[in-house]
C-alpha cells in the first residue's frame, strides 16, 4: 500500500513503521537482534531462533508464540518498559529494548490489562 493508502487515522505504531530503516536493530535482555522493517517482534525473535521469552506463573513453563494472531496472549513481552504487549502484533522498531518475563513477574489477569 502506498503512502496515500495509509488510513485516515493512524496510530503511533504505524507512523513509526514508515520511518524505520530497512534493517532494524533491537535487543532482548541485552542480546542484539535484527528485524526487517514491518516485521513483528514475535517474527523477529522466531527468525533469530528464540522460541520463548516468558515463564508461566505457576509451573514456570516456557512460552512464546502460539496463535500468532493476537488471541492467546502466550507471547506477552515487555518493550521499552511497557509490559504485557503481544509480541505477535507488536511491530519491531529500531532501538527497541525487549525484556523477557520470569515466573515471578508474570502478570495475573486480576491486575488489570495493559
Amino acid at each position: 500500500m502506498s503512502e496515500r493508502d495509509r488510513p485516515t487515522s493512524v496510530t503511533g505504531a504505524q507512523v513509526a513503521a514508515n520511518r524505520e530503516p530497512a534493517t532494524i536493530h533491537l535487543t532482548l535482555d541485552g542480546r542484539e537482534l535484527t528485524a526487517r522493517a514491518g516485521q513483528s517482534v514475535g517474527a523477529a525473535l522466531t527468525q533469530a531462533g528464540i522460541r520463548s521469552w516468558r515463564r508461566t506463573r505457576h509451573g514456570g513453563r516456557p512460552r512464546g508464540l502460539f496463535c500468532g494472531i493476537g488471541i492467546c496472549y502466550d507471547c506477552l513481552i515487555t518493550a521499552d518498559g511497557v509490559p504485557n504487549l503481544r509480541a505477535c502484533l507488536l511491530l519491531a522498531s529500531d532501538g527497541m529494548q525487549l525484556t523477557s518475563t520470569g515466573p515471578e513477574s508474570t502478570p495475573t489477569t486480576d491486575g488489570g490489562a495493559a
Binding site: T11, A17, E20, A43, S52, I69, G70, C72, L76, V82
Partner: protein, 490 residues
C-alpha cells in the same frame, strides 16, 4: 471497574460502523459507502485484509509476490474502492484499533446510537485516535481463529496454531520451524503444509484425523462448488510433489520436549479406530514445529456483548443467529463472515455485501443483487456444512489426555483438576466448571480452551455439547485488552 459514561470525549458519528477488515468487513464497507451512507471501518489489523489476505507491510517490505494469496485481485479492487470513498469522506478507516466494548442503543442505555469503545491494538493510546465512535447501525465481521484441543505437551514452545504458522509466513515472511508436522482436521491443513514446504521447511507428515471417504457422503454439495474441489486438488498435488505423507485417520496424541526441555522435540502418533477410540502407534516423529488446527471457531465476544442470539453450528462452534438479510436478533445489528458460521472467504464476501446493503436500508432498491447474493450464500453454506460433516472433532478426543495435560494454558489448569471438578465437586455445567477451575478465566478469556472446556463439561455429564456449555466461555469483558486509563473517567 466502571466504564466511563459516553459523551465526555468528542464522539465522531456515522451512519454505519463496520468492525473487521477481512473479506466480510471490506465487502460490507464498500456496499454501505456505495449506497451513500457514511461508514467507519474499524480493524485490529495494522493493514486491511483480515486472515485471508494477511500480507507483509507493503510500505516497507519492498517487492512482494502474492503467490500465497488467492483472489488477490478481489482484495485490490475492494481496497481501491475504499480508498476512493475515503477521499470523498464517505468512508473512514481506523487501523490497528480494537473495539473493546460496545453499548447498544435503546431504552436500557439511553443512547440513541451504538457506541463503540476503542483502544489501540498495541501500545499506548494515541491522542489522534478517537476513544469512542457512534453509529446508527452496526455490522460485526470479527472473523474466526483456529480451534484447539489440548494434547499432552501442547504448551511447549514450537507447538503453534496452524493458522498462526501460516500467518507468520503470509504476514511476516518468517518460517516458524524447519521440520514440521501439521495435524488436526480440515482442508486448511493442506495449504499450511504446502506453504511450509514451499518456503523451505521439511514437512514430515500431515495428520488428518478423519478419513477422506466422509466427503463421498456429500456429493451434492461438492457438485455445486467445483472451484473448492479444484483448490483441494491443487493442494493435494503440491503435497504429492513435495513428497509429504498425508496420513488420514491419524492424530498427534502426545508431544514431547527435546533434550533442552524447553521446546518440542518429538511427537507420538495415534490411529483413530472406527469406534472413535485412539490407538497409539509405535512411530515417533522428530520435529521442531507442530502446527495444530481443528477447523476454526468464530470470535464471538462482540456478538455476546451485543446481546444477539447465538446457536451451535454443525461443527459444534457457537455462532451468531442471523436472518436472510444478515440481521441479528438485535435491531440495527448485522453480522457477516465467519461469525455466522465458519464457511470461508467467498461466503464471507457475499455475507458482507448483503449486510452492507441491508444496513444501508437498500434491499428494496437492490432486489436482483440481494437475490443473487442469497443464492450464493446458500450454495456456499451447503459446502461449509459438507466440510464440517467430513471433518468433525474426534468424539473421543479426551482419551488422549493424561492427568497432567494442561487444558487451560493461561491459568495452567490440568485435566486432573477439570475431571475432579466435574466428577467430585459437582461442576455439572460449564459456568461452574469455569469458576471452580479458572479454565477460560486467564488472559485469553477462553479463546483457546473454551471449546475443550465446554466439551469436557458436557462429557462429564455424559450428554451432548449444547449452547449453554459454550456461551459462558464466549462472554469476554473487556472484548480486547484496554489501557487502564480508558476504564477510568477521564
Amino acid at each position: 471497574m466502571s466504564v466511563h459514561p459516553s459523551g465526555i470525549t468528542k464522539q465522531p458519528s456515522y451512519d454505519v460502523a463496520v468492525v473487521g477488515g477481512g473479506p466480510a468487513g471490506l465487502a460490507a464497507t464498500v456496499a454501505t459507502a456505495r449506497l451513500g451512507r457514511r461508514v467507519v471501518l474499524i480493524d485490529a489489523g495494522a493493514q486491511l485484509g483480515g486472515q485471508y489476505w494477511r500480507h507483509p507491510d507493503l510500505s516497507s517490505a519492498g517487492a512482494h509476490d502474492h503467490a500465497g494469496h488467492r483472489d488477490w485481485e478481489v482484495f485490490e479492487a475492494l481496497t481501491e474502492r475504499i480508498r476512493r470513498h475515503r477521499q470523498t469522506g464517505a468512508a473512514v478507516h481506523l487501523a490497528a484499533t480494537q473495539v473493546w466494548f460496545i453499548e447498544p442503543p435503546g431504552p436500557d442505555t439511553g443512547a440513541p446510537a451504538w457506541t463503540l469503545h476503542l483502544a489501540p491494538t498495541c501500545g499506548v493510546q494515541d491522542d489522534r485516535m478517537p476513544r469512542t465512535v457512534r453509529a446508527d447501525r452496526l455490522i460485526l465481521a470479527p472473523g474466526c481463529y483456529d480451534r484447539q484441543l489440548p494434547i499432552p505437551g501442547w504448551d511447549l514452545p514450537g507447538v503453534m496454531a496452524a493458522g498462526g504458522v501460516q500467518a507468520l509466513l503470509k504476514g511476516q515472511r518468517t518460517l516458524a520451524g524447519k521440520r514440521a508436522v501439521v495435524a488436526g482436521t480440515g482442508p486448511f491443513l493442506l495449504p499450511v503444509a504446502a506453504q511450509l514446504a514451499r518456503n523451505g521447511a521439511k514437512v514430515v507428515a500431515v495428520c488428518e484425523a478423519n478419513r477422506i471417504g466422509r466427503w463421498a457422503k456429500q456429493p451434492l454439495a461438492l457438485a455445486r462448488t467445483p472451484a473448492k474441489l479444484a483448490e483441494a486438488a491443487s493442494y493435494g498435488w503440491s503435497l504429492a510433489r513435495a513428497r509429504i505423507p498425508y496420513l488420514t485417520g491419524t492424530v498427534v496424541m502426545r508431544i514431547e520436549a527435546d533434550s533442552s526441555g524447553n521446546q518440542v522435540g518429538t511427537v507420538k502418533l495415534g490411529r483413530l479406530r472406527s469406534d472413535g477410540g485412539v490407538q497409539p502407534r509405535p512411530k515417533r516423529l522428530e520435529v521442531d514445529l507442530v502446527a495444530l488446527g481443528w477447523g476454526f471457531t468464530p470470535a464471538l465476544e462482540l456478538v455476546s456483548a451485543s446481546g444477539a442470539e447465538t446457536r451451535v453450528d454443525v461443527d459444534r462452534s457457537l455462532v451468531a443467529v442471523v436472518d436472510d438479510r444478515q440481521q441479528s436478533t438485535v435491531a440495527g445489528l448485522y453480522i457477516a463472515g465467519e461469525a455466522t458460521g465458519v464457511g470461508g472467504a467467498q461466503l464471507a464476501l457475499a455475507e458482507g455485501e448483503l449486510a452492507g446493503i441491508a444496513a444501508a436500508d437498500a434491499t428494496h432498491l437492490e432486489r436482483s443483487r440481494v437475490r443473487a447474493l442469497g443464492r450464493e450464500i446458500r450454495r456456499l453454506r451447503a459446502f461449509a456444512v459438507a466440510m464440517h460433516r467430513s471433518h468433525p472433532v474426534p468424539p473421543r478426543w479426551s482419551e488422549w489426555l493424561t492427568p497432567e495435560t494442561i487444558v487451560c494454558r493461561c491459568e495452567e489448569v490440568t485435566y486432573a483438576r477439570v475431571s475432579e471438578a466435574s466428577t467430585r465437586l459437582g461442576a455439572t455445567d460449564a459456568r461452574t466448571l469455569k469458576l471452580l477451575t479458572r479454565c477460560g478465566m486467564g488472559w485469553c478469556q477462553g479463546h483457546v480452551c473454551g471449546f475443550a472446556t465446554a466439551a469436557l463439561a458436557a462429557a462429564g455429564q455424559t450428554r451432548p455439547l449444547n449452547a449453554e456449555d459454550l456461551r459462558p466461555l464466549a462472554k469476554q469483558f473487556p472484548c480486547a485488552p484496554v489501557p487502564l486509563g480508558s476504564l477510568l473517567e477521564d
